[in-house]
């Protein structure tokens, strides 16, 4: 395998007109348009702008960039790249085609699609060279070529040459002898002979015809990969038969591998079990009429608006608390879901939608809560179709994924709605692609979600196959996009609605084949234009807001459609909503009427309002209810006063009230014999005395309070405690602790250090040892159970000396009994400047 590459590159270098020698050279030869295409497809190459084409080629060959480019290829182009990675390098087009189609006549579809795949790879600078010398850039080859750690998606193993790399020449000779080949002089020719045998279909067929039945079964098992199998030290005869002939080659001790050439022979030359040359067809499911879909989607769009409004209105006064880690608590989400009468995942979606549209945010107070933003007020004043367009464009462009809420992240921490870590950068692109694919179908036509997902999967296969049972991120994103689009009314019954179609840029309409040319959905200006078109498409579908209701004698009002805003607001105060949907049913109750009266309406107002807006006469029981509640409303009055003034002689009170000097007391007549004052009782007394009256204070029970000047007392107080001479006698515990502390400190400062362990620090400074020594000494101390003397720098940078008896050393920490602090402590090893053993008598 190495030989052809060497000769190839050499001949490429020397032969004039034999094709470019390097990728840079080929890029240099490409027209500007092609380079532009490359940069558009791989925008990461532009960051920063490369100095010259050599730099560009180098950057295009970096691992990160190649990985990114490979990930963005569709299934068939990836398969082609994978086939190239297992083909000789450089590889003539014919060889590649044989790998893709197989020996036999081959699949015409594959043969037809292959030029496109090669062209795509070439456009993306992943493949270069002339048709007869196609070369996959080296990084891509490394990434895609099979190795024991990263089995190739093709399921092919290493070549004979690679697999026999470390094999003894003697063993090689045995193998070729067993395979029925004449002996050779050197291992290289032996490998070449074996490879030639395996690649020769006729001779190989003859060889395999002799294989025992079980051996054929073993080959069949390894055929489509993974190509590795395990063998015991003493393999069964049929395995022995295969090993002898090099049909299985040892990989590591105890395991064998099926060489690539053998597998290819058995596969009829095909690199892939199932090449997928064409994108899965989006077979339309039951079509609905475009009218039905649009009407129902508009209904859902309207529901979306009312739901968001309902949610934010309820959070206006009593928004949920923001968790310390950010986001909405599970309990609040549950409450919101039950309030909106929906599932928790849908509730999370609505909250996230409002958040993405900038209608909802945390208020940033100390006691942080979620509340609508000022933008919400502006939003409310927009016509319904524009409100919807705002939400829909925000949804389309958001990287936040409500679908993640309620799950757990990689560290199995819960992910909360509105919380951090809900951003997934591919989300907008996936949403866009889902809608764009739906847009390729005729209006009103839907497609089964699984079909759509299969198509997306083909367009951008996940690089690492997902674990069984788990779906890769893009598939999950696409699923969420489908459900969310349905909730928003962008789609209905799985088909794209007219407003939903308008949300997409004009370019998306055309791009049926292949992945979208521009992975970043839309610029702001484009999105704005789309929003305008979507709003225009939605407007005629929405029901006209009504200005009337129907009142009924069972004290209900029915709004047979959406109401104009002022009417809806007034009604929501005056009555309780009983049922929602296309229409709204309101119920009048004494409490709801009282609420309206509390809001400053009068009974006459309310009746006039009802008469004005009702298509039907106001039923007698309703008018009666309003009057009856109004009759009692405000019958009892509550107010605040600081003190009162009463006098049986109402003339005196009238006199006081008339007196200008009483103005600062802010008196108000409540009844002929009672005045309420805003002044405190003592001020009132003072004021009245100043005016020449002789008022008496009254207690809460109505008795006259007799006041005397000398009656002043402090609140209850305790007598002062005697102050003895000197400090109090300490108790035994305290004494014990003090002694221990003193001893420990003493030990730390006076401990004699073993000279052998480290040079004694000058002037009693911190001991210094290398980290290896520190570790070794610590570990030794753990084993011997002895105490050591350490220098330690704490988090603030303050250095100290401590005597500790280490108990455990692990994970960069040492845990031990600290004699200085008299407790068990843990120190990070990197903070320990050095360690010294104590003199033996202390240990």
């Amino acid at each position: 395998m190495t030989t052809p590459r060497d000769t190839g590159s050499r001949s490429g270098g020397t032969a004039r007109g034999g094709g470019p020698r390097t990728l840079a050279e080929e890029l240099r030869a490409r027209p500007d348009g092609a380079l532009g295409g490359l940069l558009r497809a791989r925008p990461d190459l532009l960051n920063p702008v490369p100095g010259d084409l050599t730099q560009l080629a180098t950057r295009a060959g970096t691992r990160a960039s190649v990985l990114r480019a490979l990930e963005r290829l569709d299934r068939f182009v990836q398969q082609t790249a994978e086939a190239l990675a297992v083909a000789p390098d450089p590889c003539p087009y014919g060889t590649l085609a044989a790998l893709m189609t197989g020996d036999a006549p081959g699949d015409p579809l594959v043969a037809e699609a292959l030029p496109r795949a090669v062209a795509t790879l070439r456009d993306q600078a992943l493949v270069w060279g002339t048709e007869d010398r196609l070369r996959l850039v080296r990084t891509a080859r490394e990434l895609l070529a099979p190795s024991p750690a990263h089995p190739s998606p093709t399921g092919l193993g290493p070549t004979v040459a690679e697999a026999t790399a470390g094999m003894s020449p003697g063993r090689l000779q045995q193998i070729i002898a067993a395979a029925g080949l004449p002996g050779t002089h050197d291992p290289v020719s032996a490998v070449a002979a074996l490879t030639a045998l395996f690649e020769d279909r006729v001779r190989m067929g003859e060889l395999l015809a002799q294989a025992p039945a079980e051996a054929a079964a073993v080959l069949g098992r390894l055929l489509w990969g993974p190509p590795y199998g395990t063998v015991t030290a003493d393999p069964a005869p049929h395995l022995r038969w295969l090993l002898d002939r090099g049909l299985l080659l040892p990989a590591t001790p105890g395991s064998v591998v099926l060489p690539r050439e053998v597998a290819l022979h058995l596969r009829g030359g095909r690199a892939h079990r199932a090449p997928e040359p064409a994108a899965p067809d989006l077979a339309p499911a039951t079509p609905h009429s475009a009218h039905t879909v649009n009407a129902a989607a508009a209904g859902q769009a309207f529901t979306a608006l009312t739901t968001v409004e309902e949610l934010l209105t309820s959070w206006e006064s009593d928004g949920p608390l923001v968790l310390r880690a950010g986001g909405l608590s599970v309990r609040d989400l549950k409450r919101t879901a039950s309030f909106l009468d929906t599932t928790e995942s849908a509730a999370a979606f609505w909250a996230e939608l409002a958040y993405a549209a900038g209608l909802l945010a945390s208020d940033g107070e100390v006691d942080e809560r979620y509340a609508p933003t000022p933008a919400y007020d502006d939003w409310l004043h927009l016509p319904a179709e524009q409100r919807w367009a705002r939400l829909a464009t925000a949804w389309l462009a958001a990287t936040r994924c409500a679908g993640l809420a309620g799950g757990r992240d990689a560290k199995s921490r819960p992910l909360n709605a509105l919380g951090p870590d809900l951003d997934r950068s591919p989300a907008p692109e996936v949403r866009h692609r889902v809608l764009a694919l739906l847009a390729t179908l005729p209006p009103g036509t839907s497609v089964a979600p699984e079909t759509l997902l299969a198509r997306l999967h083909w367009e951008r296969p996940p690089r690492t196959p997902a674990e069984p049972g788990a779906e890769d991120l893009r598939t999950r994103l696409a699923r969420w996009a489908l459900t969310e689009a349905e909730l928003l009314g962008v789609t209905n019954r799985g088909a794209l609605s007219a407003p939903g179609r308008a949300l997409l840029g004009p370019k998306d309409m055309e791009s049926e084949d292949a992945a979208p040319a521009h992975p970043h959905p839309l610029s702001d200006a484009e999105a704005g234009a789309c929003a305008v078109r979507a709003a225009a498409a939605l407007a005629p579908l929405l029901p006209e807001p009504l200005d009337h209701i129907l009142l009924q004698a069972d004290l209900t009002a029915v709004a047979p459609g959406p109401l104009k805003r002022p009417l809806a607001q007034m009604l929501s105060v005056l009555a309780d909503v009983e049922s929602k949907g296309g229409a709204t049913v309101y119920r009048f109750t004494p409490a709801s009427v009282r609420r309206a009266l509390d809001a400053g309406r009068t009974a006459a107002d309310l009746k006039a309002f009802l008469t004005a807006h009702s298509r039907t006469p106001v039923p007698q029981p309703l008018a009666y209810l309003v009057d009856d509640v109004a009759r009692r409303h405000g019958h009892l009055r509550v107010g605040a006063a600081s003190s009162y003034l009463r006098c049986d002689d109402d003339a005196v009170l009238a006199e006081i009230l008339a007196d200008r000097r009483s103005a600062p007391l802010r008196l108000r007549r409540l009844a002929p014999t009672v005045l309420a004052a805003q002044a405190a009782p003592d001020e009132l007394l003072e004021g009245l005395r100043a005016m020449g009256y002789a008022p008496a204070a009254e207690s809460a029970e109505g008795d006259v309070v007799v006041t005397r000047a000398d009656a002043r007392r402090t609140p209850p107080r305790t007598a002062p405690a005697p102050v003895p001479e000197g400090p109090p006698v300490p108790d035994e515990t305290l004494l014990g602790a003090a002694v221990r502390a003193i001893r420990a400190g003493d030990m730390a400062s006076t401990a004699e250090r073993k000279q052998a362990a480290a040079p004694a620090p000058a002037g009693g400074g911190l001991p210094r040892t290398t980290s290896a020594e520190t570790l070794a000494t610590m570990q030794a101390a753990v084993l011997t159970g002895s105490a050591v003397w350490i220098g330690y720098v704490n988090a603030e940078g303050a250095a100290s000396q401590r005597v500790i008896a280490p108990v455990r050393v692990e994970g960069g920490f040492v845990t031990g009994y600290d004699h200085t602090a008299d407790e068990v402590r843990t120190y990070p090893l990197h903070r320990i400047t050095g360690v010294a053993e104590l003199a033996d008598e202390h240990a």
């Binding site: 009407a295 129907l550 069972d554 004290l555 209900t556 949907g581 009666y624």
Partner: protein, 548 residues
């Protein structure tokens, strides 16, 4: 613009003044329960029970969805349609059928469902051996129990096991000079076609005749269960008059008499009498080979009767009621044990056809005197209703109302005996209460019917099934707290068609600003929802108007 609006809580709003309203009503009535029928917009509710009722009546999900989509003014949420289709699909996956060799078996067309329900602890004791993967034997005695349990599990079983014919007995309708009204005939046919089930008709719409019609179809011995003795006599009287049955063929099984005849009328009370922990009168069910069991006033069926009914699943069962609303919420037991709703007609519709009298319902608000208000405020919580319901002011207003309708047949209905006695004394009218002997009751009722008596004071013993054809005014002074069905029954007293087509009046005297008012509001809600709107008037105005 169509006439139907589908709400997200699965209620349907029907605009009755719309030209398509009738067609729409016919389309949705099979699966949606009429919940409220006020003047402009009727509310129907789609419930699982309603959908299964529709399935039982032979409608499929497609028809339901089609009806909604056709008549809905706004697009119907797709999720709701899917939900409806799924719910309806649950009915009939399990079937109770008669197996030629294994007797009663539960059969499934959907094996996972059978597996699921067989894993339920509640089902396990009810079933026997597994006959094949799709069939399991059921103990015949558990036929009712298993239906009840399956319904609770959300997989209602279709009962196709059929009925025993019972002991044949010739019964014919004696249609001399009268005939079953069209809706009565429809109800009988609907019931007979379905095998068992419930017929919902308003009070005064002639439920007894539906019963008689069903008996004439069955032509078999019949057990009729009624609420009380007076009602039992009523049935007997009516059956003798309307059918070929004679007095001797009809037995009464009550507290006083224990007759078992080809047609036996028993009261719920005697059946549910418990002595030493057993129900001694249960053997009545087995005493004859009944071909038909009729339950009058199904909404009052006491809990023990449900238990006996579970054992009667092999007999045809007919439930009669004015409303499926049960104060105890056991509608699902009615569905599984007696059967699905087979026929219903809203009150207003029958009134419009002239079969029941129109009624003017008036709530009279009475201002209590200051001393009464003070006494009310200080009354114990449990005494509050009794106090405000029986105040002297209310009595005076009641007297004034009676005086106002002098010469008309007037019923005064109340809850508290001492209040009624007092009223009787003041009005100089006889009082019928629990202790009044049945003979005395019948005598008084006859006198009232003949017009010899124009005012009758009755306690709640007269709530049900007494026939007072010429009562044109009813005055309700107190009731069983907020009972909605009691209110409906009492209104039913005045809804029988009057000879002169006179409009009936129903007064409810209520003390203002008391708990009485709250209960009244609750009681009236049902009637208001049936389209019988209350007017509310102040007693002072009403009486002042009289004097003027």
């Amino acid at each position: 613009m169509s006439c139907l609006i589908v709400q997200s809580d699965k209620t349907l709003l029907l605009e009755v003044d719309h030209e398509q309203a009738d067609a729409c009503r016919r389309a949705i009535a099979p699966f949606a329960e009429l919940e409220r029928a006020p003047e402009h917009i009727h509310t129907y509710r789609v419930t699982p029970l309603g959908l299964w009722n529709a399935r039982a009546a032979g409608h499929d999900a497609e028809q339901v969805v089609d009806a909604l989509v056709t008549y809905s003014r706004y697009p119907v949420p797709h999720a709701l349609l899917v939900d409806i289709a799924e719910t309806m699909d649950r009915y009939g996956r399990l079937k109770l059928v008669k197996h030629p060799t294994h007797g009663l078996v539960l059969e499934s067309t959907d094996r996972p469902v059978l597996e699921e329900i067989l894993r339920s602890k509640k089902i396990q004791p009810l079933v026997g051996a597994r006959i094949d993967p799709d069939t399991v034997a059921v103990h015949p005695s558990e036929r009712g129990q298993i239906k009840q349990t399956l319904l609770k599990l959300g997989w209602p079983a279709e009962d196709l096991a059929g009925y025993v014919d019972g002991e044949a007995h010739p019964i014919e309708l004696a249609e001399d000079g009268w005939a079953l009204r069209p809706y009565q005939q429809q109800a009988v046919d609907g019931f007979w076609h379905g095998g068992s089930g419930v017929v919902v008709l308003p009070c005064g719409a002639g439920k007894t005749l539906v019963g008689a019609g069903a008996m004439a179809k069955a032509k078999a011995t019949t057990l009729i269960l009624v609420t009380n003795t007076v009602s039992a006599r009523q049935w007997k009287h009516e059956l003798v008059r309307r059918t070929s049955l004679t007095e001797d063929e009809i037995g009464e099984y009550s507290g006083t008499k224990k007759e078992i005849r080809p047609v036996t009328i028993a009261t719920y009370q005697v059946l549910t009498t418990k002595r030493k922990g057993i129900y001694p009168h249960l053997e009545l069910f087995d005493s004859r080979d009944w071909g038909l069991v009729v339950y009058d006033e199904v909404h009052l069926l006491p809990a023990p009767v449900f238990k006996f009914t579970a054992d009667l699943q092999a007999r045809r069962r007919l439930g009669l009621t004015a409303t499926l609303v049960r104060e105890d919420g056991r509608e699902s037991d009615v569905f599984s044990l007696i059967g699905p709703k087979r026929f219903d007609a809203p009150w207003k519709e029958i009134e419009a056809q002239g079969y029941i009298a129109p009624a003017d319902c008036v709530e009279v608000r009475v201002n209590l005197t200051d001393s009464e208000r003070l006494a009310y405020a200080t009354a114990e919580a449990e005494e509050k209703y009794r106090f405000c319901a029986t105040t002297a002011t209310k009595r005076r207003v009641t007297e004034a109302l009676v005086a106002r309708h002098k010469g008309e047949q007037t019923l005064v209905i109340g809850q508290y005996i001492d209040q009624l006695d007092e009223l009787g004394e003041h009005l100089d009218a006889p009082v019928i209460k629990g202790e009044t002997s049945n003979a005395q009751r019948e005598k008084l009722f006859d006198a009232f019917r003949e017009g010899e008596l124009s005012v009758l004071v009755v306690s709640k013993v007269a709530n049900f099934s007494i026939d007072l054809p010429e009562a044109t005014v009813a005055i309700q002074v107190s009731g069983t707290f907020g009972s909605r069905q009691e209110e409906a029954q009492r209104l039913g007293r005045v809804l029988r068609p009057k000879a002169d087509g006179h409009e009936a009046r129903f007064y409810s005297v209520v003390a203002r600003d008391t708990i009485d008012q709250d209960f009244a509001a609750h009681r009236q809600r049902f009637l208001a929802e049936q389209g019988y709107a209350y007017r509310i008037v102040d007693a002072d105005e009403l009486l002042a108007g009289d004097e003027a």
